[in-house]
């Protein structure tokens, strides 16, 4: 009851200087809203790029040869899967699996009359579900047919930068399983756009059979890529597909580098959060300190009534806690609105996305925020605690005055 009355005095004090309280409230609200929106956007960018990467590159589970070296894009027979079709068929029998298909990766150089660029060549099974993102992303021409021996699918962005279009011929120099690279001319059948500039600018597609023949690997493939109904089943499926001589990786392993990189970026972002919240804390401390100065007389009265220093301190802390709670509530509301807007409308980055991303970090042209209750709750509580900490000094300052000194202000 007494605490309630203290709190009531505190709340009424807030109402006494409405403009100052409102400005403090706005500072807390804007600060927290900014932090929540930033965080939601960053989390959305991380999750979005992981999902993009799963969709166009890694799948949920990959089965590779044990000795396969991803960095070298090895095409040596001993590094490749001997019978990828059988492995894919085996994966298909699992209830958790939505689709499984072999893929062959090779490094190559696309040569036009004017220039040449390094590309990653994906030998894909065109009708498979794995190829759906590329098929659905077709923006010009036709998709590849499985038995197409002279066609290639290239990204619209790459085509644009090289001045190419559907029907043009390009020369492709490709690494093979042997010592010498091979070169052949292909006709551009179609252009695709997955919405991930970093991927589209560096990747071209051949039908798997043609890619296998071109790189002289026989029926072999670099990996079998598996898509699941639910990505949380990745470990179960990986365990089921494990066999001697095979390396089975889940989407977590495959995106680890990206997640680690982004976590490092998050560290920087946390610094920004801290700076924003520190600025808010200074505003709060300043407001409360001014309030303490203004109410010296009142503290003298309360002391004369027998109120102890710690009770006066509690009163000021409650004032700050109340202001903080309202500010935090409004901040969560505004921040959530910000996240909601960015989650539905997204932020169009366009070419900027390609410049900040590499082929391994699949930033889309439009990035979307992701709202996370737990993180928002943590940020809200942290903001509130920082406010309380910031008000400790003014509250302590209020108790430092001797009653007679406080009463002298009468």
């Amino acid at each position: 009851m007494f605490i309630f009355r203290l709190w009531r005095i505190a709340v009424r004090d807030l109402g006494r200087n409405r403009r100052r309280s409102a400005l403090t409230l706005i500072a807390v609200m804007m600060g927290l809203a900014l932090v929540i929106t930033l965080h939601g956007f960053e989390m959305g960018a991380i999750q979005g790029s992981i999902q993009n990467n799963i969709r166009v590159q890694t799948g949920h589970v990959q089965v590779r040869g044990e000795s396969y070296d991803e960095d070298k894009v090895s095409l040596k027979w001993e590094d490749l899967l001997e019978d990828p079709l059988a492995l894919a068929a085996q994966a298909q029998t699992l209830a958790e699996v939505r689709a499984a298909a072999p893929v062959l990766w090779a490094g190559g150089i696309l040569v036009t009359v004017e220039e040449s660029v390094g590309v990653r060549v994906f030998g894909i099974d065109p009708p498979s579900e794995m190829a759906a993102p590329y098929r659905e992303g077709l923006v010009a021409g036709e998709f590849l047919a499985p038995d197409d021996r002279g066609g290639v699918l290239i990204g619209q962005r790459l085509a644009k930068s090289l001045g190419l279009t559907v029907g043009d011929d390009v020369s492709l120099l490709i690494n093979t399983s042997g010592e010498q690279p091979d070169e052949a001319t292909f006709r551009i059948r179609g252009l695709y756009d997955t919405g991930i500039p970093g991927f589209d600018e560096a990747t071209i597609f051949l039908p798997l059979a043609k890619a296998q023949a071109f790189t002289r690997v026989g029926e072999r493939a670099s990996a079998v890529v598996v898509l699941l109904h639910d990505q949380e089943d990745a470990d179960t499926v990986a365990a089921a597909l494990g066999a001697p001589g095979l390396d089975v990786m889940t989407w977590r392993d495959l995106n680890q580098l990206m997640v680690e990189g982004m976590n490092a970026a998050m560290g920087f972002l946390y610094m920004i959060y801290l700076i924003v919240l520190a600025v808010v804390a200074v505003v709060v401390a300043n407001t409360l300190l001014m309030s303490v100065f203004e109410r010296t007389r009142e503290m003298g009265i309360l002391a004369s009534l027998g109120m102890k220093g710690r009770q006066i301190m509690a009163m000021f802390l409650m004032e700050s806690a109340t202001l903080g709670a309202i500010g935090v509530f409004l901040g969560v509301l505004l921040g959530s609105l910000g996240v909601y807007y960015l989650a539905t409308e997204g932020l169009y980055l366009g070419d900027m996305s390609a410049s900040v991303a590499s082929a391994d970090i699949a930033y889309g042209e439009t990035m979307y925020a992701a709202f996370q209750w737990s993180d928002t709750a943590v940020l809200a509580v942290v903001c509130w605690i920082i406010m309380l900490l910031a008000s400790l000094y003014p509250a302590w300052f209020a108790t430092r005055k001797e009653p007679i000194d406080a009463l002298r202000a009468l």
């Binding site: 009851m1 007494f2 009355r5 009531r8 005095i9 009424r12 004090d13 109402g15 006494r16 007389r297 009142e298 003298g300 009265i301 309360l302 002391a303 004369s304 009534l305 027998g306 109120m307 102890k308 220093g309 009770q311 001797e402 009653p403 007679i404 009463l407 009468l410």
Partner: protein, 232 residues
């Protein structure tokens, strides 16, 4: 019975190198039920003496005895405990908490002393009645006149039934009529409840209400007179 006693009390304020002697060895004894006026010109030490009696301050030397107990060296928290429930204050500037209603201001010391809801309600109603402000219970200080505010302050000082009420220039900011009303209420409550009142004042209108007038000059007791009955 002696309520409060100052024994050779001195109070020296130091501001930088400069020393100001507010009290220079005051000996003063206030008996139970007295209505005493502490008079003297500005700077004579009235407020300082009142603050020592109210345990708001400590003497530089000498002793303060409250009901025979030496309170001179008590800590700030102990003195706060002592003030609560034992001593009530009335200040020149009414000194109400601006955000609280008349009712809530009077209730505050009761809350601090741990009275329960029922006790508080009955006591506040009784006090509002005693100072003639039952109708103004819900009004906040800024909605009341100076006289009304000072009556609320008197009621608040009496809330916990303290043995001693210390009033520092209680009429200084009131017009004649309101000043008289406040003094009459205090005198009536002194007579009805036997509560001891000490008023520091230089308002000649207050002196006739007192049964004892102690004059301070230059931090010393210069005169101490007892009066029988009402001298108004």
């Amino acid at each position: 019975m002696i309520v409060i006693e100052l024994q050779d009390a001195t109070r020296v304020y130091k501001i930088g190198e400069m020393e100001t002697h507010a009290l220079r060895g005051v000996n003063l004894t206030i008996e139970d039920g007295e209505f005493t006026a502490l008079v003297g010109p500005s700077g004579s030490g009235k407020t300082t003496a009142l603050q020592l009696m109210g345990c708001l301050d400590r003497p530089t030397s000498g002793r303060v005895l409250l009901q025979g107990e030496d309170v001179t060296k008590l800590s700030a928290n102990k003195r706060a405990d002592l003030r609560r429930g034992t001593i009530g204050f009335v200040f020149q500037f009414f000194a109400l908490i601006p955000g609280l209603s008349a009712y809530e201001n009077i209730e505050l010391p009761l809350l601090l002393s741990g009275a329960n809801g029922k006790q508080r309600k009955a006591r506040v109603a009784e006090l509002l009645e005693a100072v003639g402000l039952s109708e103004r219970a819900k009004h906040r200080p800024d909605q009341m006149s100076g006289g009304e505010q000072q009556r609320v302050a008197v009621a608040r000082a009496l809330a916990t039934e303290p043995i001693l009420i210390l009033a520092d220039e209680p009429t200084a900011n009131l017009d004649t009529e309101n000043g008289r009303q406040v003094m009459e209420i205090m005198l009536r409550l002194n007579e009805e409840t036997g509560t001891t009142f000490v008023c520091a004042t230089h308002d000649p209108r207050v002196i006739p209400f007192a049964r004892r007038v102690v004059e301070l000059r230059d931090g010393k007791v210069a005169d101490d007179k007892q009066y029988e009955g009402d001298t108004r």
